[in-house]
């Protein structure tokens, strides 16, 4: 789907890649695969990648999206990188709590705190 709107917006702050979801629903399988491959290429970019996922616009997600995020987390860990999640709405945060994934991911309230939480290696 080359002419469809991109699923994420990318910015960089120092050595941290900030990824913002541009679609309020991370539900659709195609959408998830798309995001997964974009994040994959960001992970491949660097030796110890630092990624910040900004969930400000996300209103819905599914177990498939959680699976994609876990896969991203595993790949980042393999490369000694760091992943942070920020700006997660209460309704979405509850999904992380129910699945206990709030223990697996480093989740920060906002972008500034997430940026400050990255360890300088």
């Amino acid at each position: 789907m080359p002419e469809s709107t991109p699923t994420v917006a990318l910015t960089t702050e120092k050595d941290v890649r900030i990824v913002e979801f541009t679609n309020s629903k991370i539900l659709d399988e195609g959408n998830i695969a798309d995001i997964g491959s974009t994040l994959g290429s960001l992970i491949d970019e660097k030796a110890a990648p630092k990624l910040l996922l900004d969930f400000a616009t996300v209103e819905h997600l599914s177990s498939a999206a959680l699976g994609m995020l876990i896969n991203v987390n595993n790949r980042i860990k393999q490369k000694n990188g760091q992943l942070r999640l920020a700006n997660i709405k209460p309704q979405i945060f509850e999904v992380f709590v129910i699945t206990k994934l709030n223990k697996l991911f480093r989740i920060l309230p906002n972008r500034a705190e997430a940026l400050a939480s990255f360890n300088q290696l």
Binding site: D28, H60, S62, S63, L66, G67, I98, T99
Partner: protein, 168 residues
């Protein structure tokens, strides 16, 4: 109601009356939405949209709507993908009864079925990093009841339109 003027339209024959006494429709009667679809994502999404439109029309609150949307997505993926393996020759049947107070959704596939008890707990420490197995947990967490029958090929989910107490 509104039938008194019908005489002018009809032929005036008295036996016409027999034909026009429809079944009594009460406020509580809900006509179910029924779907029979091939196993692909396009039809899956059409069904989900139609059911969610009805949920909105019936005035479900945002928490209940969120719950239904999530559980419906997971249940439909289970049927279309994990059950019927996206085989277009295999059918998924969906029936949704949405009243202002409760949503009942039944989804049945033609796959091999599964045993609920054999699904590992995705929240166990050793499973936290596994990428799959959370759909059922989410369905059961967000709906008031989720029951599998027919060897796991048929699921019935119920959600009441009320504010959940477990959040916040």
């Amino acid at each position: 109601m509104g039938m008194s003027g019908s005489k002018s339209r009809g032929n005036g024959a008295s036996d016409d009356k027999k034909k026009k006494s429809p079944a009594v429709v009460t406020a509580s009667a809900v006509l179910p939405l029924k779907f029979k679809i091939p196993s692909d994502h396009k039809h899956q999404h059409e069904v989900q949209s139609a059911i969610l439109d009805e949920v909105a029309r019936r005035g479900f609150n945002s928490q209940s709507t969120f719950a239904i949307k999530l559980a419906l997505e997971e249940a439909m993926i289970n049927a279309v993908k994990h059950g019927n393996k996206l085989n277009p020759n295999k059918t998924v049947w969906i029936e949704a009864k949405i009243s202002p107070t409760v949503a009942e959704i039944v989804i049945e596939d033609e796959g091999p079925g599964f045993d609920r008890k054999s699904v590992p707990d995705p929240t166990a420490e050793e499973n936290l990093e596994k990428c799959s197995g959370r759909g059922i947990l989410l369905m059961e967490s967000y709906m008031n009841s989720v029951k599998w029958t027919n060897g796991g090929r048929r699921v019935k989910m119920v959600k009441k339109n009320e504010i959940d107490v477990h959040s916040h």
